[in-house]
């Protein structure tokens, strides 16, 4: 069924169509091919199952479930998988591990310190296998790999909390991905679907001594803070399972809806279903 056959194919109508691999999208030469499509004798076919998206002349198909494919400037959370010579390989829930070069991290002792020979030998004093890193996508390698950097002060090693994994499609790209929620919990929403929920640490304290940025020691976390972190983490799991956009607003909605229930019951079937209804209702009402 070609687009041109539909008499009044408005852009919105085009956009909402769900296509599957191999279906023809349009054979109008004016359109250009974007992601998720391929061309064959000047007809554009879709190569994935998803919703067609048209941005002025570019037609692309965004699959509903896919691994994270990076964009320059994305805020991501990654786990160090391997320590190489002058570089770390970072698992960013993507098609291949990203790379964090020794030259693109902050060295303890402030910005002005030059990179020493000894730094290359003590790579594990900065990041070791299993460490969680909060970084930004800096550039692409020739083979599509992501090159990360942690040069701003808010980036670096993640502490005092726990990790939640969600579908990358549910995390919309927005200005800032580092939020302090009203309930006193910091969240780092990685665009690659890794979300770090942790205790609130005032930014000023981190800048005070830059030796701290690579320490592995957690600060003291009180029981109430621990309970709030667990509640937020369960709310994010719930949103992910509901396949609902995960933003700071939707997390706050879920948090407020979950207050009457105990934290450990949030993910039981009965409580989760009625929480689902209230959250969806508020989201519809709000949008």
């Amino acid at each position: 069924m070609q687009i041109d056959d539909i008499p009044s194919s408005t852009a919105r109508d085009l956009a909402s169509r769900i296509v599957t691999p191999g279906t023809a999208i349009t054979s109008d030469p004016a359109y250009m091919r974007g992601h998720g499509t391929f061309g064959e004798n000047d007809t554009i076919y879709s190569s994935v199952a998803g919703a067609v998206e048209r941005i002025n002349k570019l037609v692309s198909v965004r699959p509903l479930k896919q691994r994270y494919s990076g964009e320059i400037g994305d805020i991501v959370v990654g786990r160090i998988t391997e320590v190489g010579s002058k570089r770390w390989r970072v698992d960013v829930n993507s098609r291949q591990d990203g790379v964090l070069l020794l030259s693109s991290i902050n060295l303890p002792g402030g910005i002005q310190r030059r990179k020493l020979e000894s730094d290359e030998l003590q790579m594990r004093t900065f990041f070791a296998e299993g460490d969680l890193v909060f970084a930004e996508v800096q550039s692409f390698f020739a083979d599509g790999g992501l090159s990360l950097h942690t040069r701003s002060i808010q980036y670096g090693k993640l502490r005092n909390g726990q990790l939640v994994t969600v579908f990358p499609q549910l995390v919309p790209r927005s200005r800032s991905h580092f939020h302090t929620l009203p309930c006193g919990v910091d969240i780092v929403v990685g665009v690659n679907g890794y979300i770090w929920v942790s205790k609130h640490v005032p930014a000023a304290k981190v800048e005070a001594n830059s030796e701290l940025i690579y320490s592995d020691r957690n600060e003291h976390i009180s029981d109430s803070e621990r309970e709030t972190i667990a509640r937020i983490a369960n709310c994010i799991h719930l949103l992910n399972r509901l396949y609902v956009k995960i933003t700071d607003t939707s997390i706050i909605f879920a948090y407020e809806a979950s207050l009457p229930h105990a934290v450990k019951d949030l993910l039981t079937k009965e409580v989760a279903t009625d929480l689902a209804h209230t959250v969806k209702a508020r989201l519809l009402q709000q949008s």
Partner: protein, 245 residues
């Protein structure tokens, strides 16, 4: 089982189907939570569960190439799948053969250049076996790959066909497949262009009959394509509606 009983004079087969009838197919996408894509596929009494991971970082550092993804297939058969329990070792030649067939089929269909330096893993579990193993594995793997959002030129639909008493027969079940006289042929096509991704036959079939057995199989594939498409659309619409699209 003498040949006569396989096809009754009125043209009915052992399980009551007509010569050109497919077995009942029921399939669902995204059935496993941890896999990137997954599918559960039943064709008659043959039941298959497939999990797809990827494209992701290749585990063995040695075998990856810089400009396209590599496809890795692992096929294992549950010991309780056949009527007579049989535990197959990991290095079982028959299993490796089927996984290499599936690998070749999808190496052509997946647009591997879109995912350089990565690996796509397809793990197939045969839960119940009643003929048409390769056919159900390919259909289920297609569904799981599409569910995982892997870029593919088209669906890959497979179907078996054979001939009993010189009449071409579609979609052989366990009994028909195991009887020696009935040749059975598996064909996998990309429905949009009709290109053949895989053609496999291990028994003798007279060349004159090859033509119409192949056509019957291709006909079956088109029907299966419709079924797979519905399953994908169900899953996609379900997710899209949740997302408020």
């Amino acid at each position: 089982m003498s040949r006569q009983e396989l096809l009754s004079p009125e043209g009915l087969r052992v399980d009551g189907r007509r010569a050109n009838e497919l077995r009942r197919i029921s399939c669902r996408a995204s059935v496993l939570s941890s896999a990137d894509g997954s599918a559960y596929y039943e064709q008659g009494n043959t039941k298959v569960l497939v999990a797809v991971y990827g494209p992701r970082e290749p585990r063995a550092k040695a075998q990856f190439n810089h400009d396209e993804a590599i496809v890795n297939v692992e096929f294992n058969v549950a010991p309780f799948s056949t009527s007579e329990r049989r535990k197959r070792s990991k290095g079982d030649k028959r299993l490796l053969e089927i996984s290499s067939f599936v690998k070749q089929t999808f190496e052509g269909a997946i647009q591997r250049s879109v995912y350089p330096r990565s690996q796509i893993d397809i793990y197939i579990h045969l839960l119940q076996h009643d003929g048409g193993t390769l056919e159900t594995c390919i259909n289920a793997a297609t569904l799981a790959l599409v569910d995982a959002g892997v870029a593919m030129a088209d669906y890959v639909c497979a179907c078996t066909a054979g001939s009993i008493d010189d009449t071409p027969v579609l979609d052989l079940n366990g009994v028909e497949e195991s009887s020696i006289e009935t040749p059975d042929l598996t064909v996998a096509i990309l429905p949009r262009t009709g290109n053949i991704a895989l053609l496999q036959m291990e028994s003798k079939l007279h060349t004159s009959k090859l033509e119409d057995v192949m056509d019957l199989a291709v006909e079956g594939c088109k029907h299966i394509h419709k079924k797979l498409d519905d399953a994908v659309l169900n899953a996609a619409n379900d997710l899209a509606s949740k997302l408020g699209r």
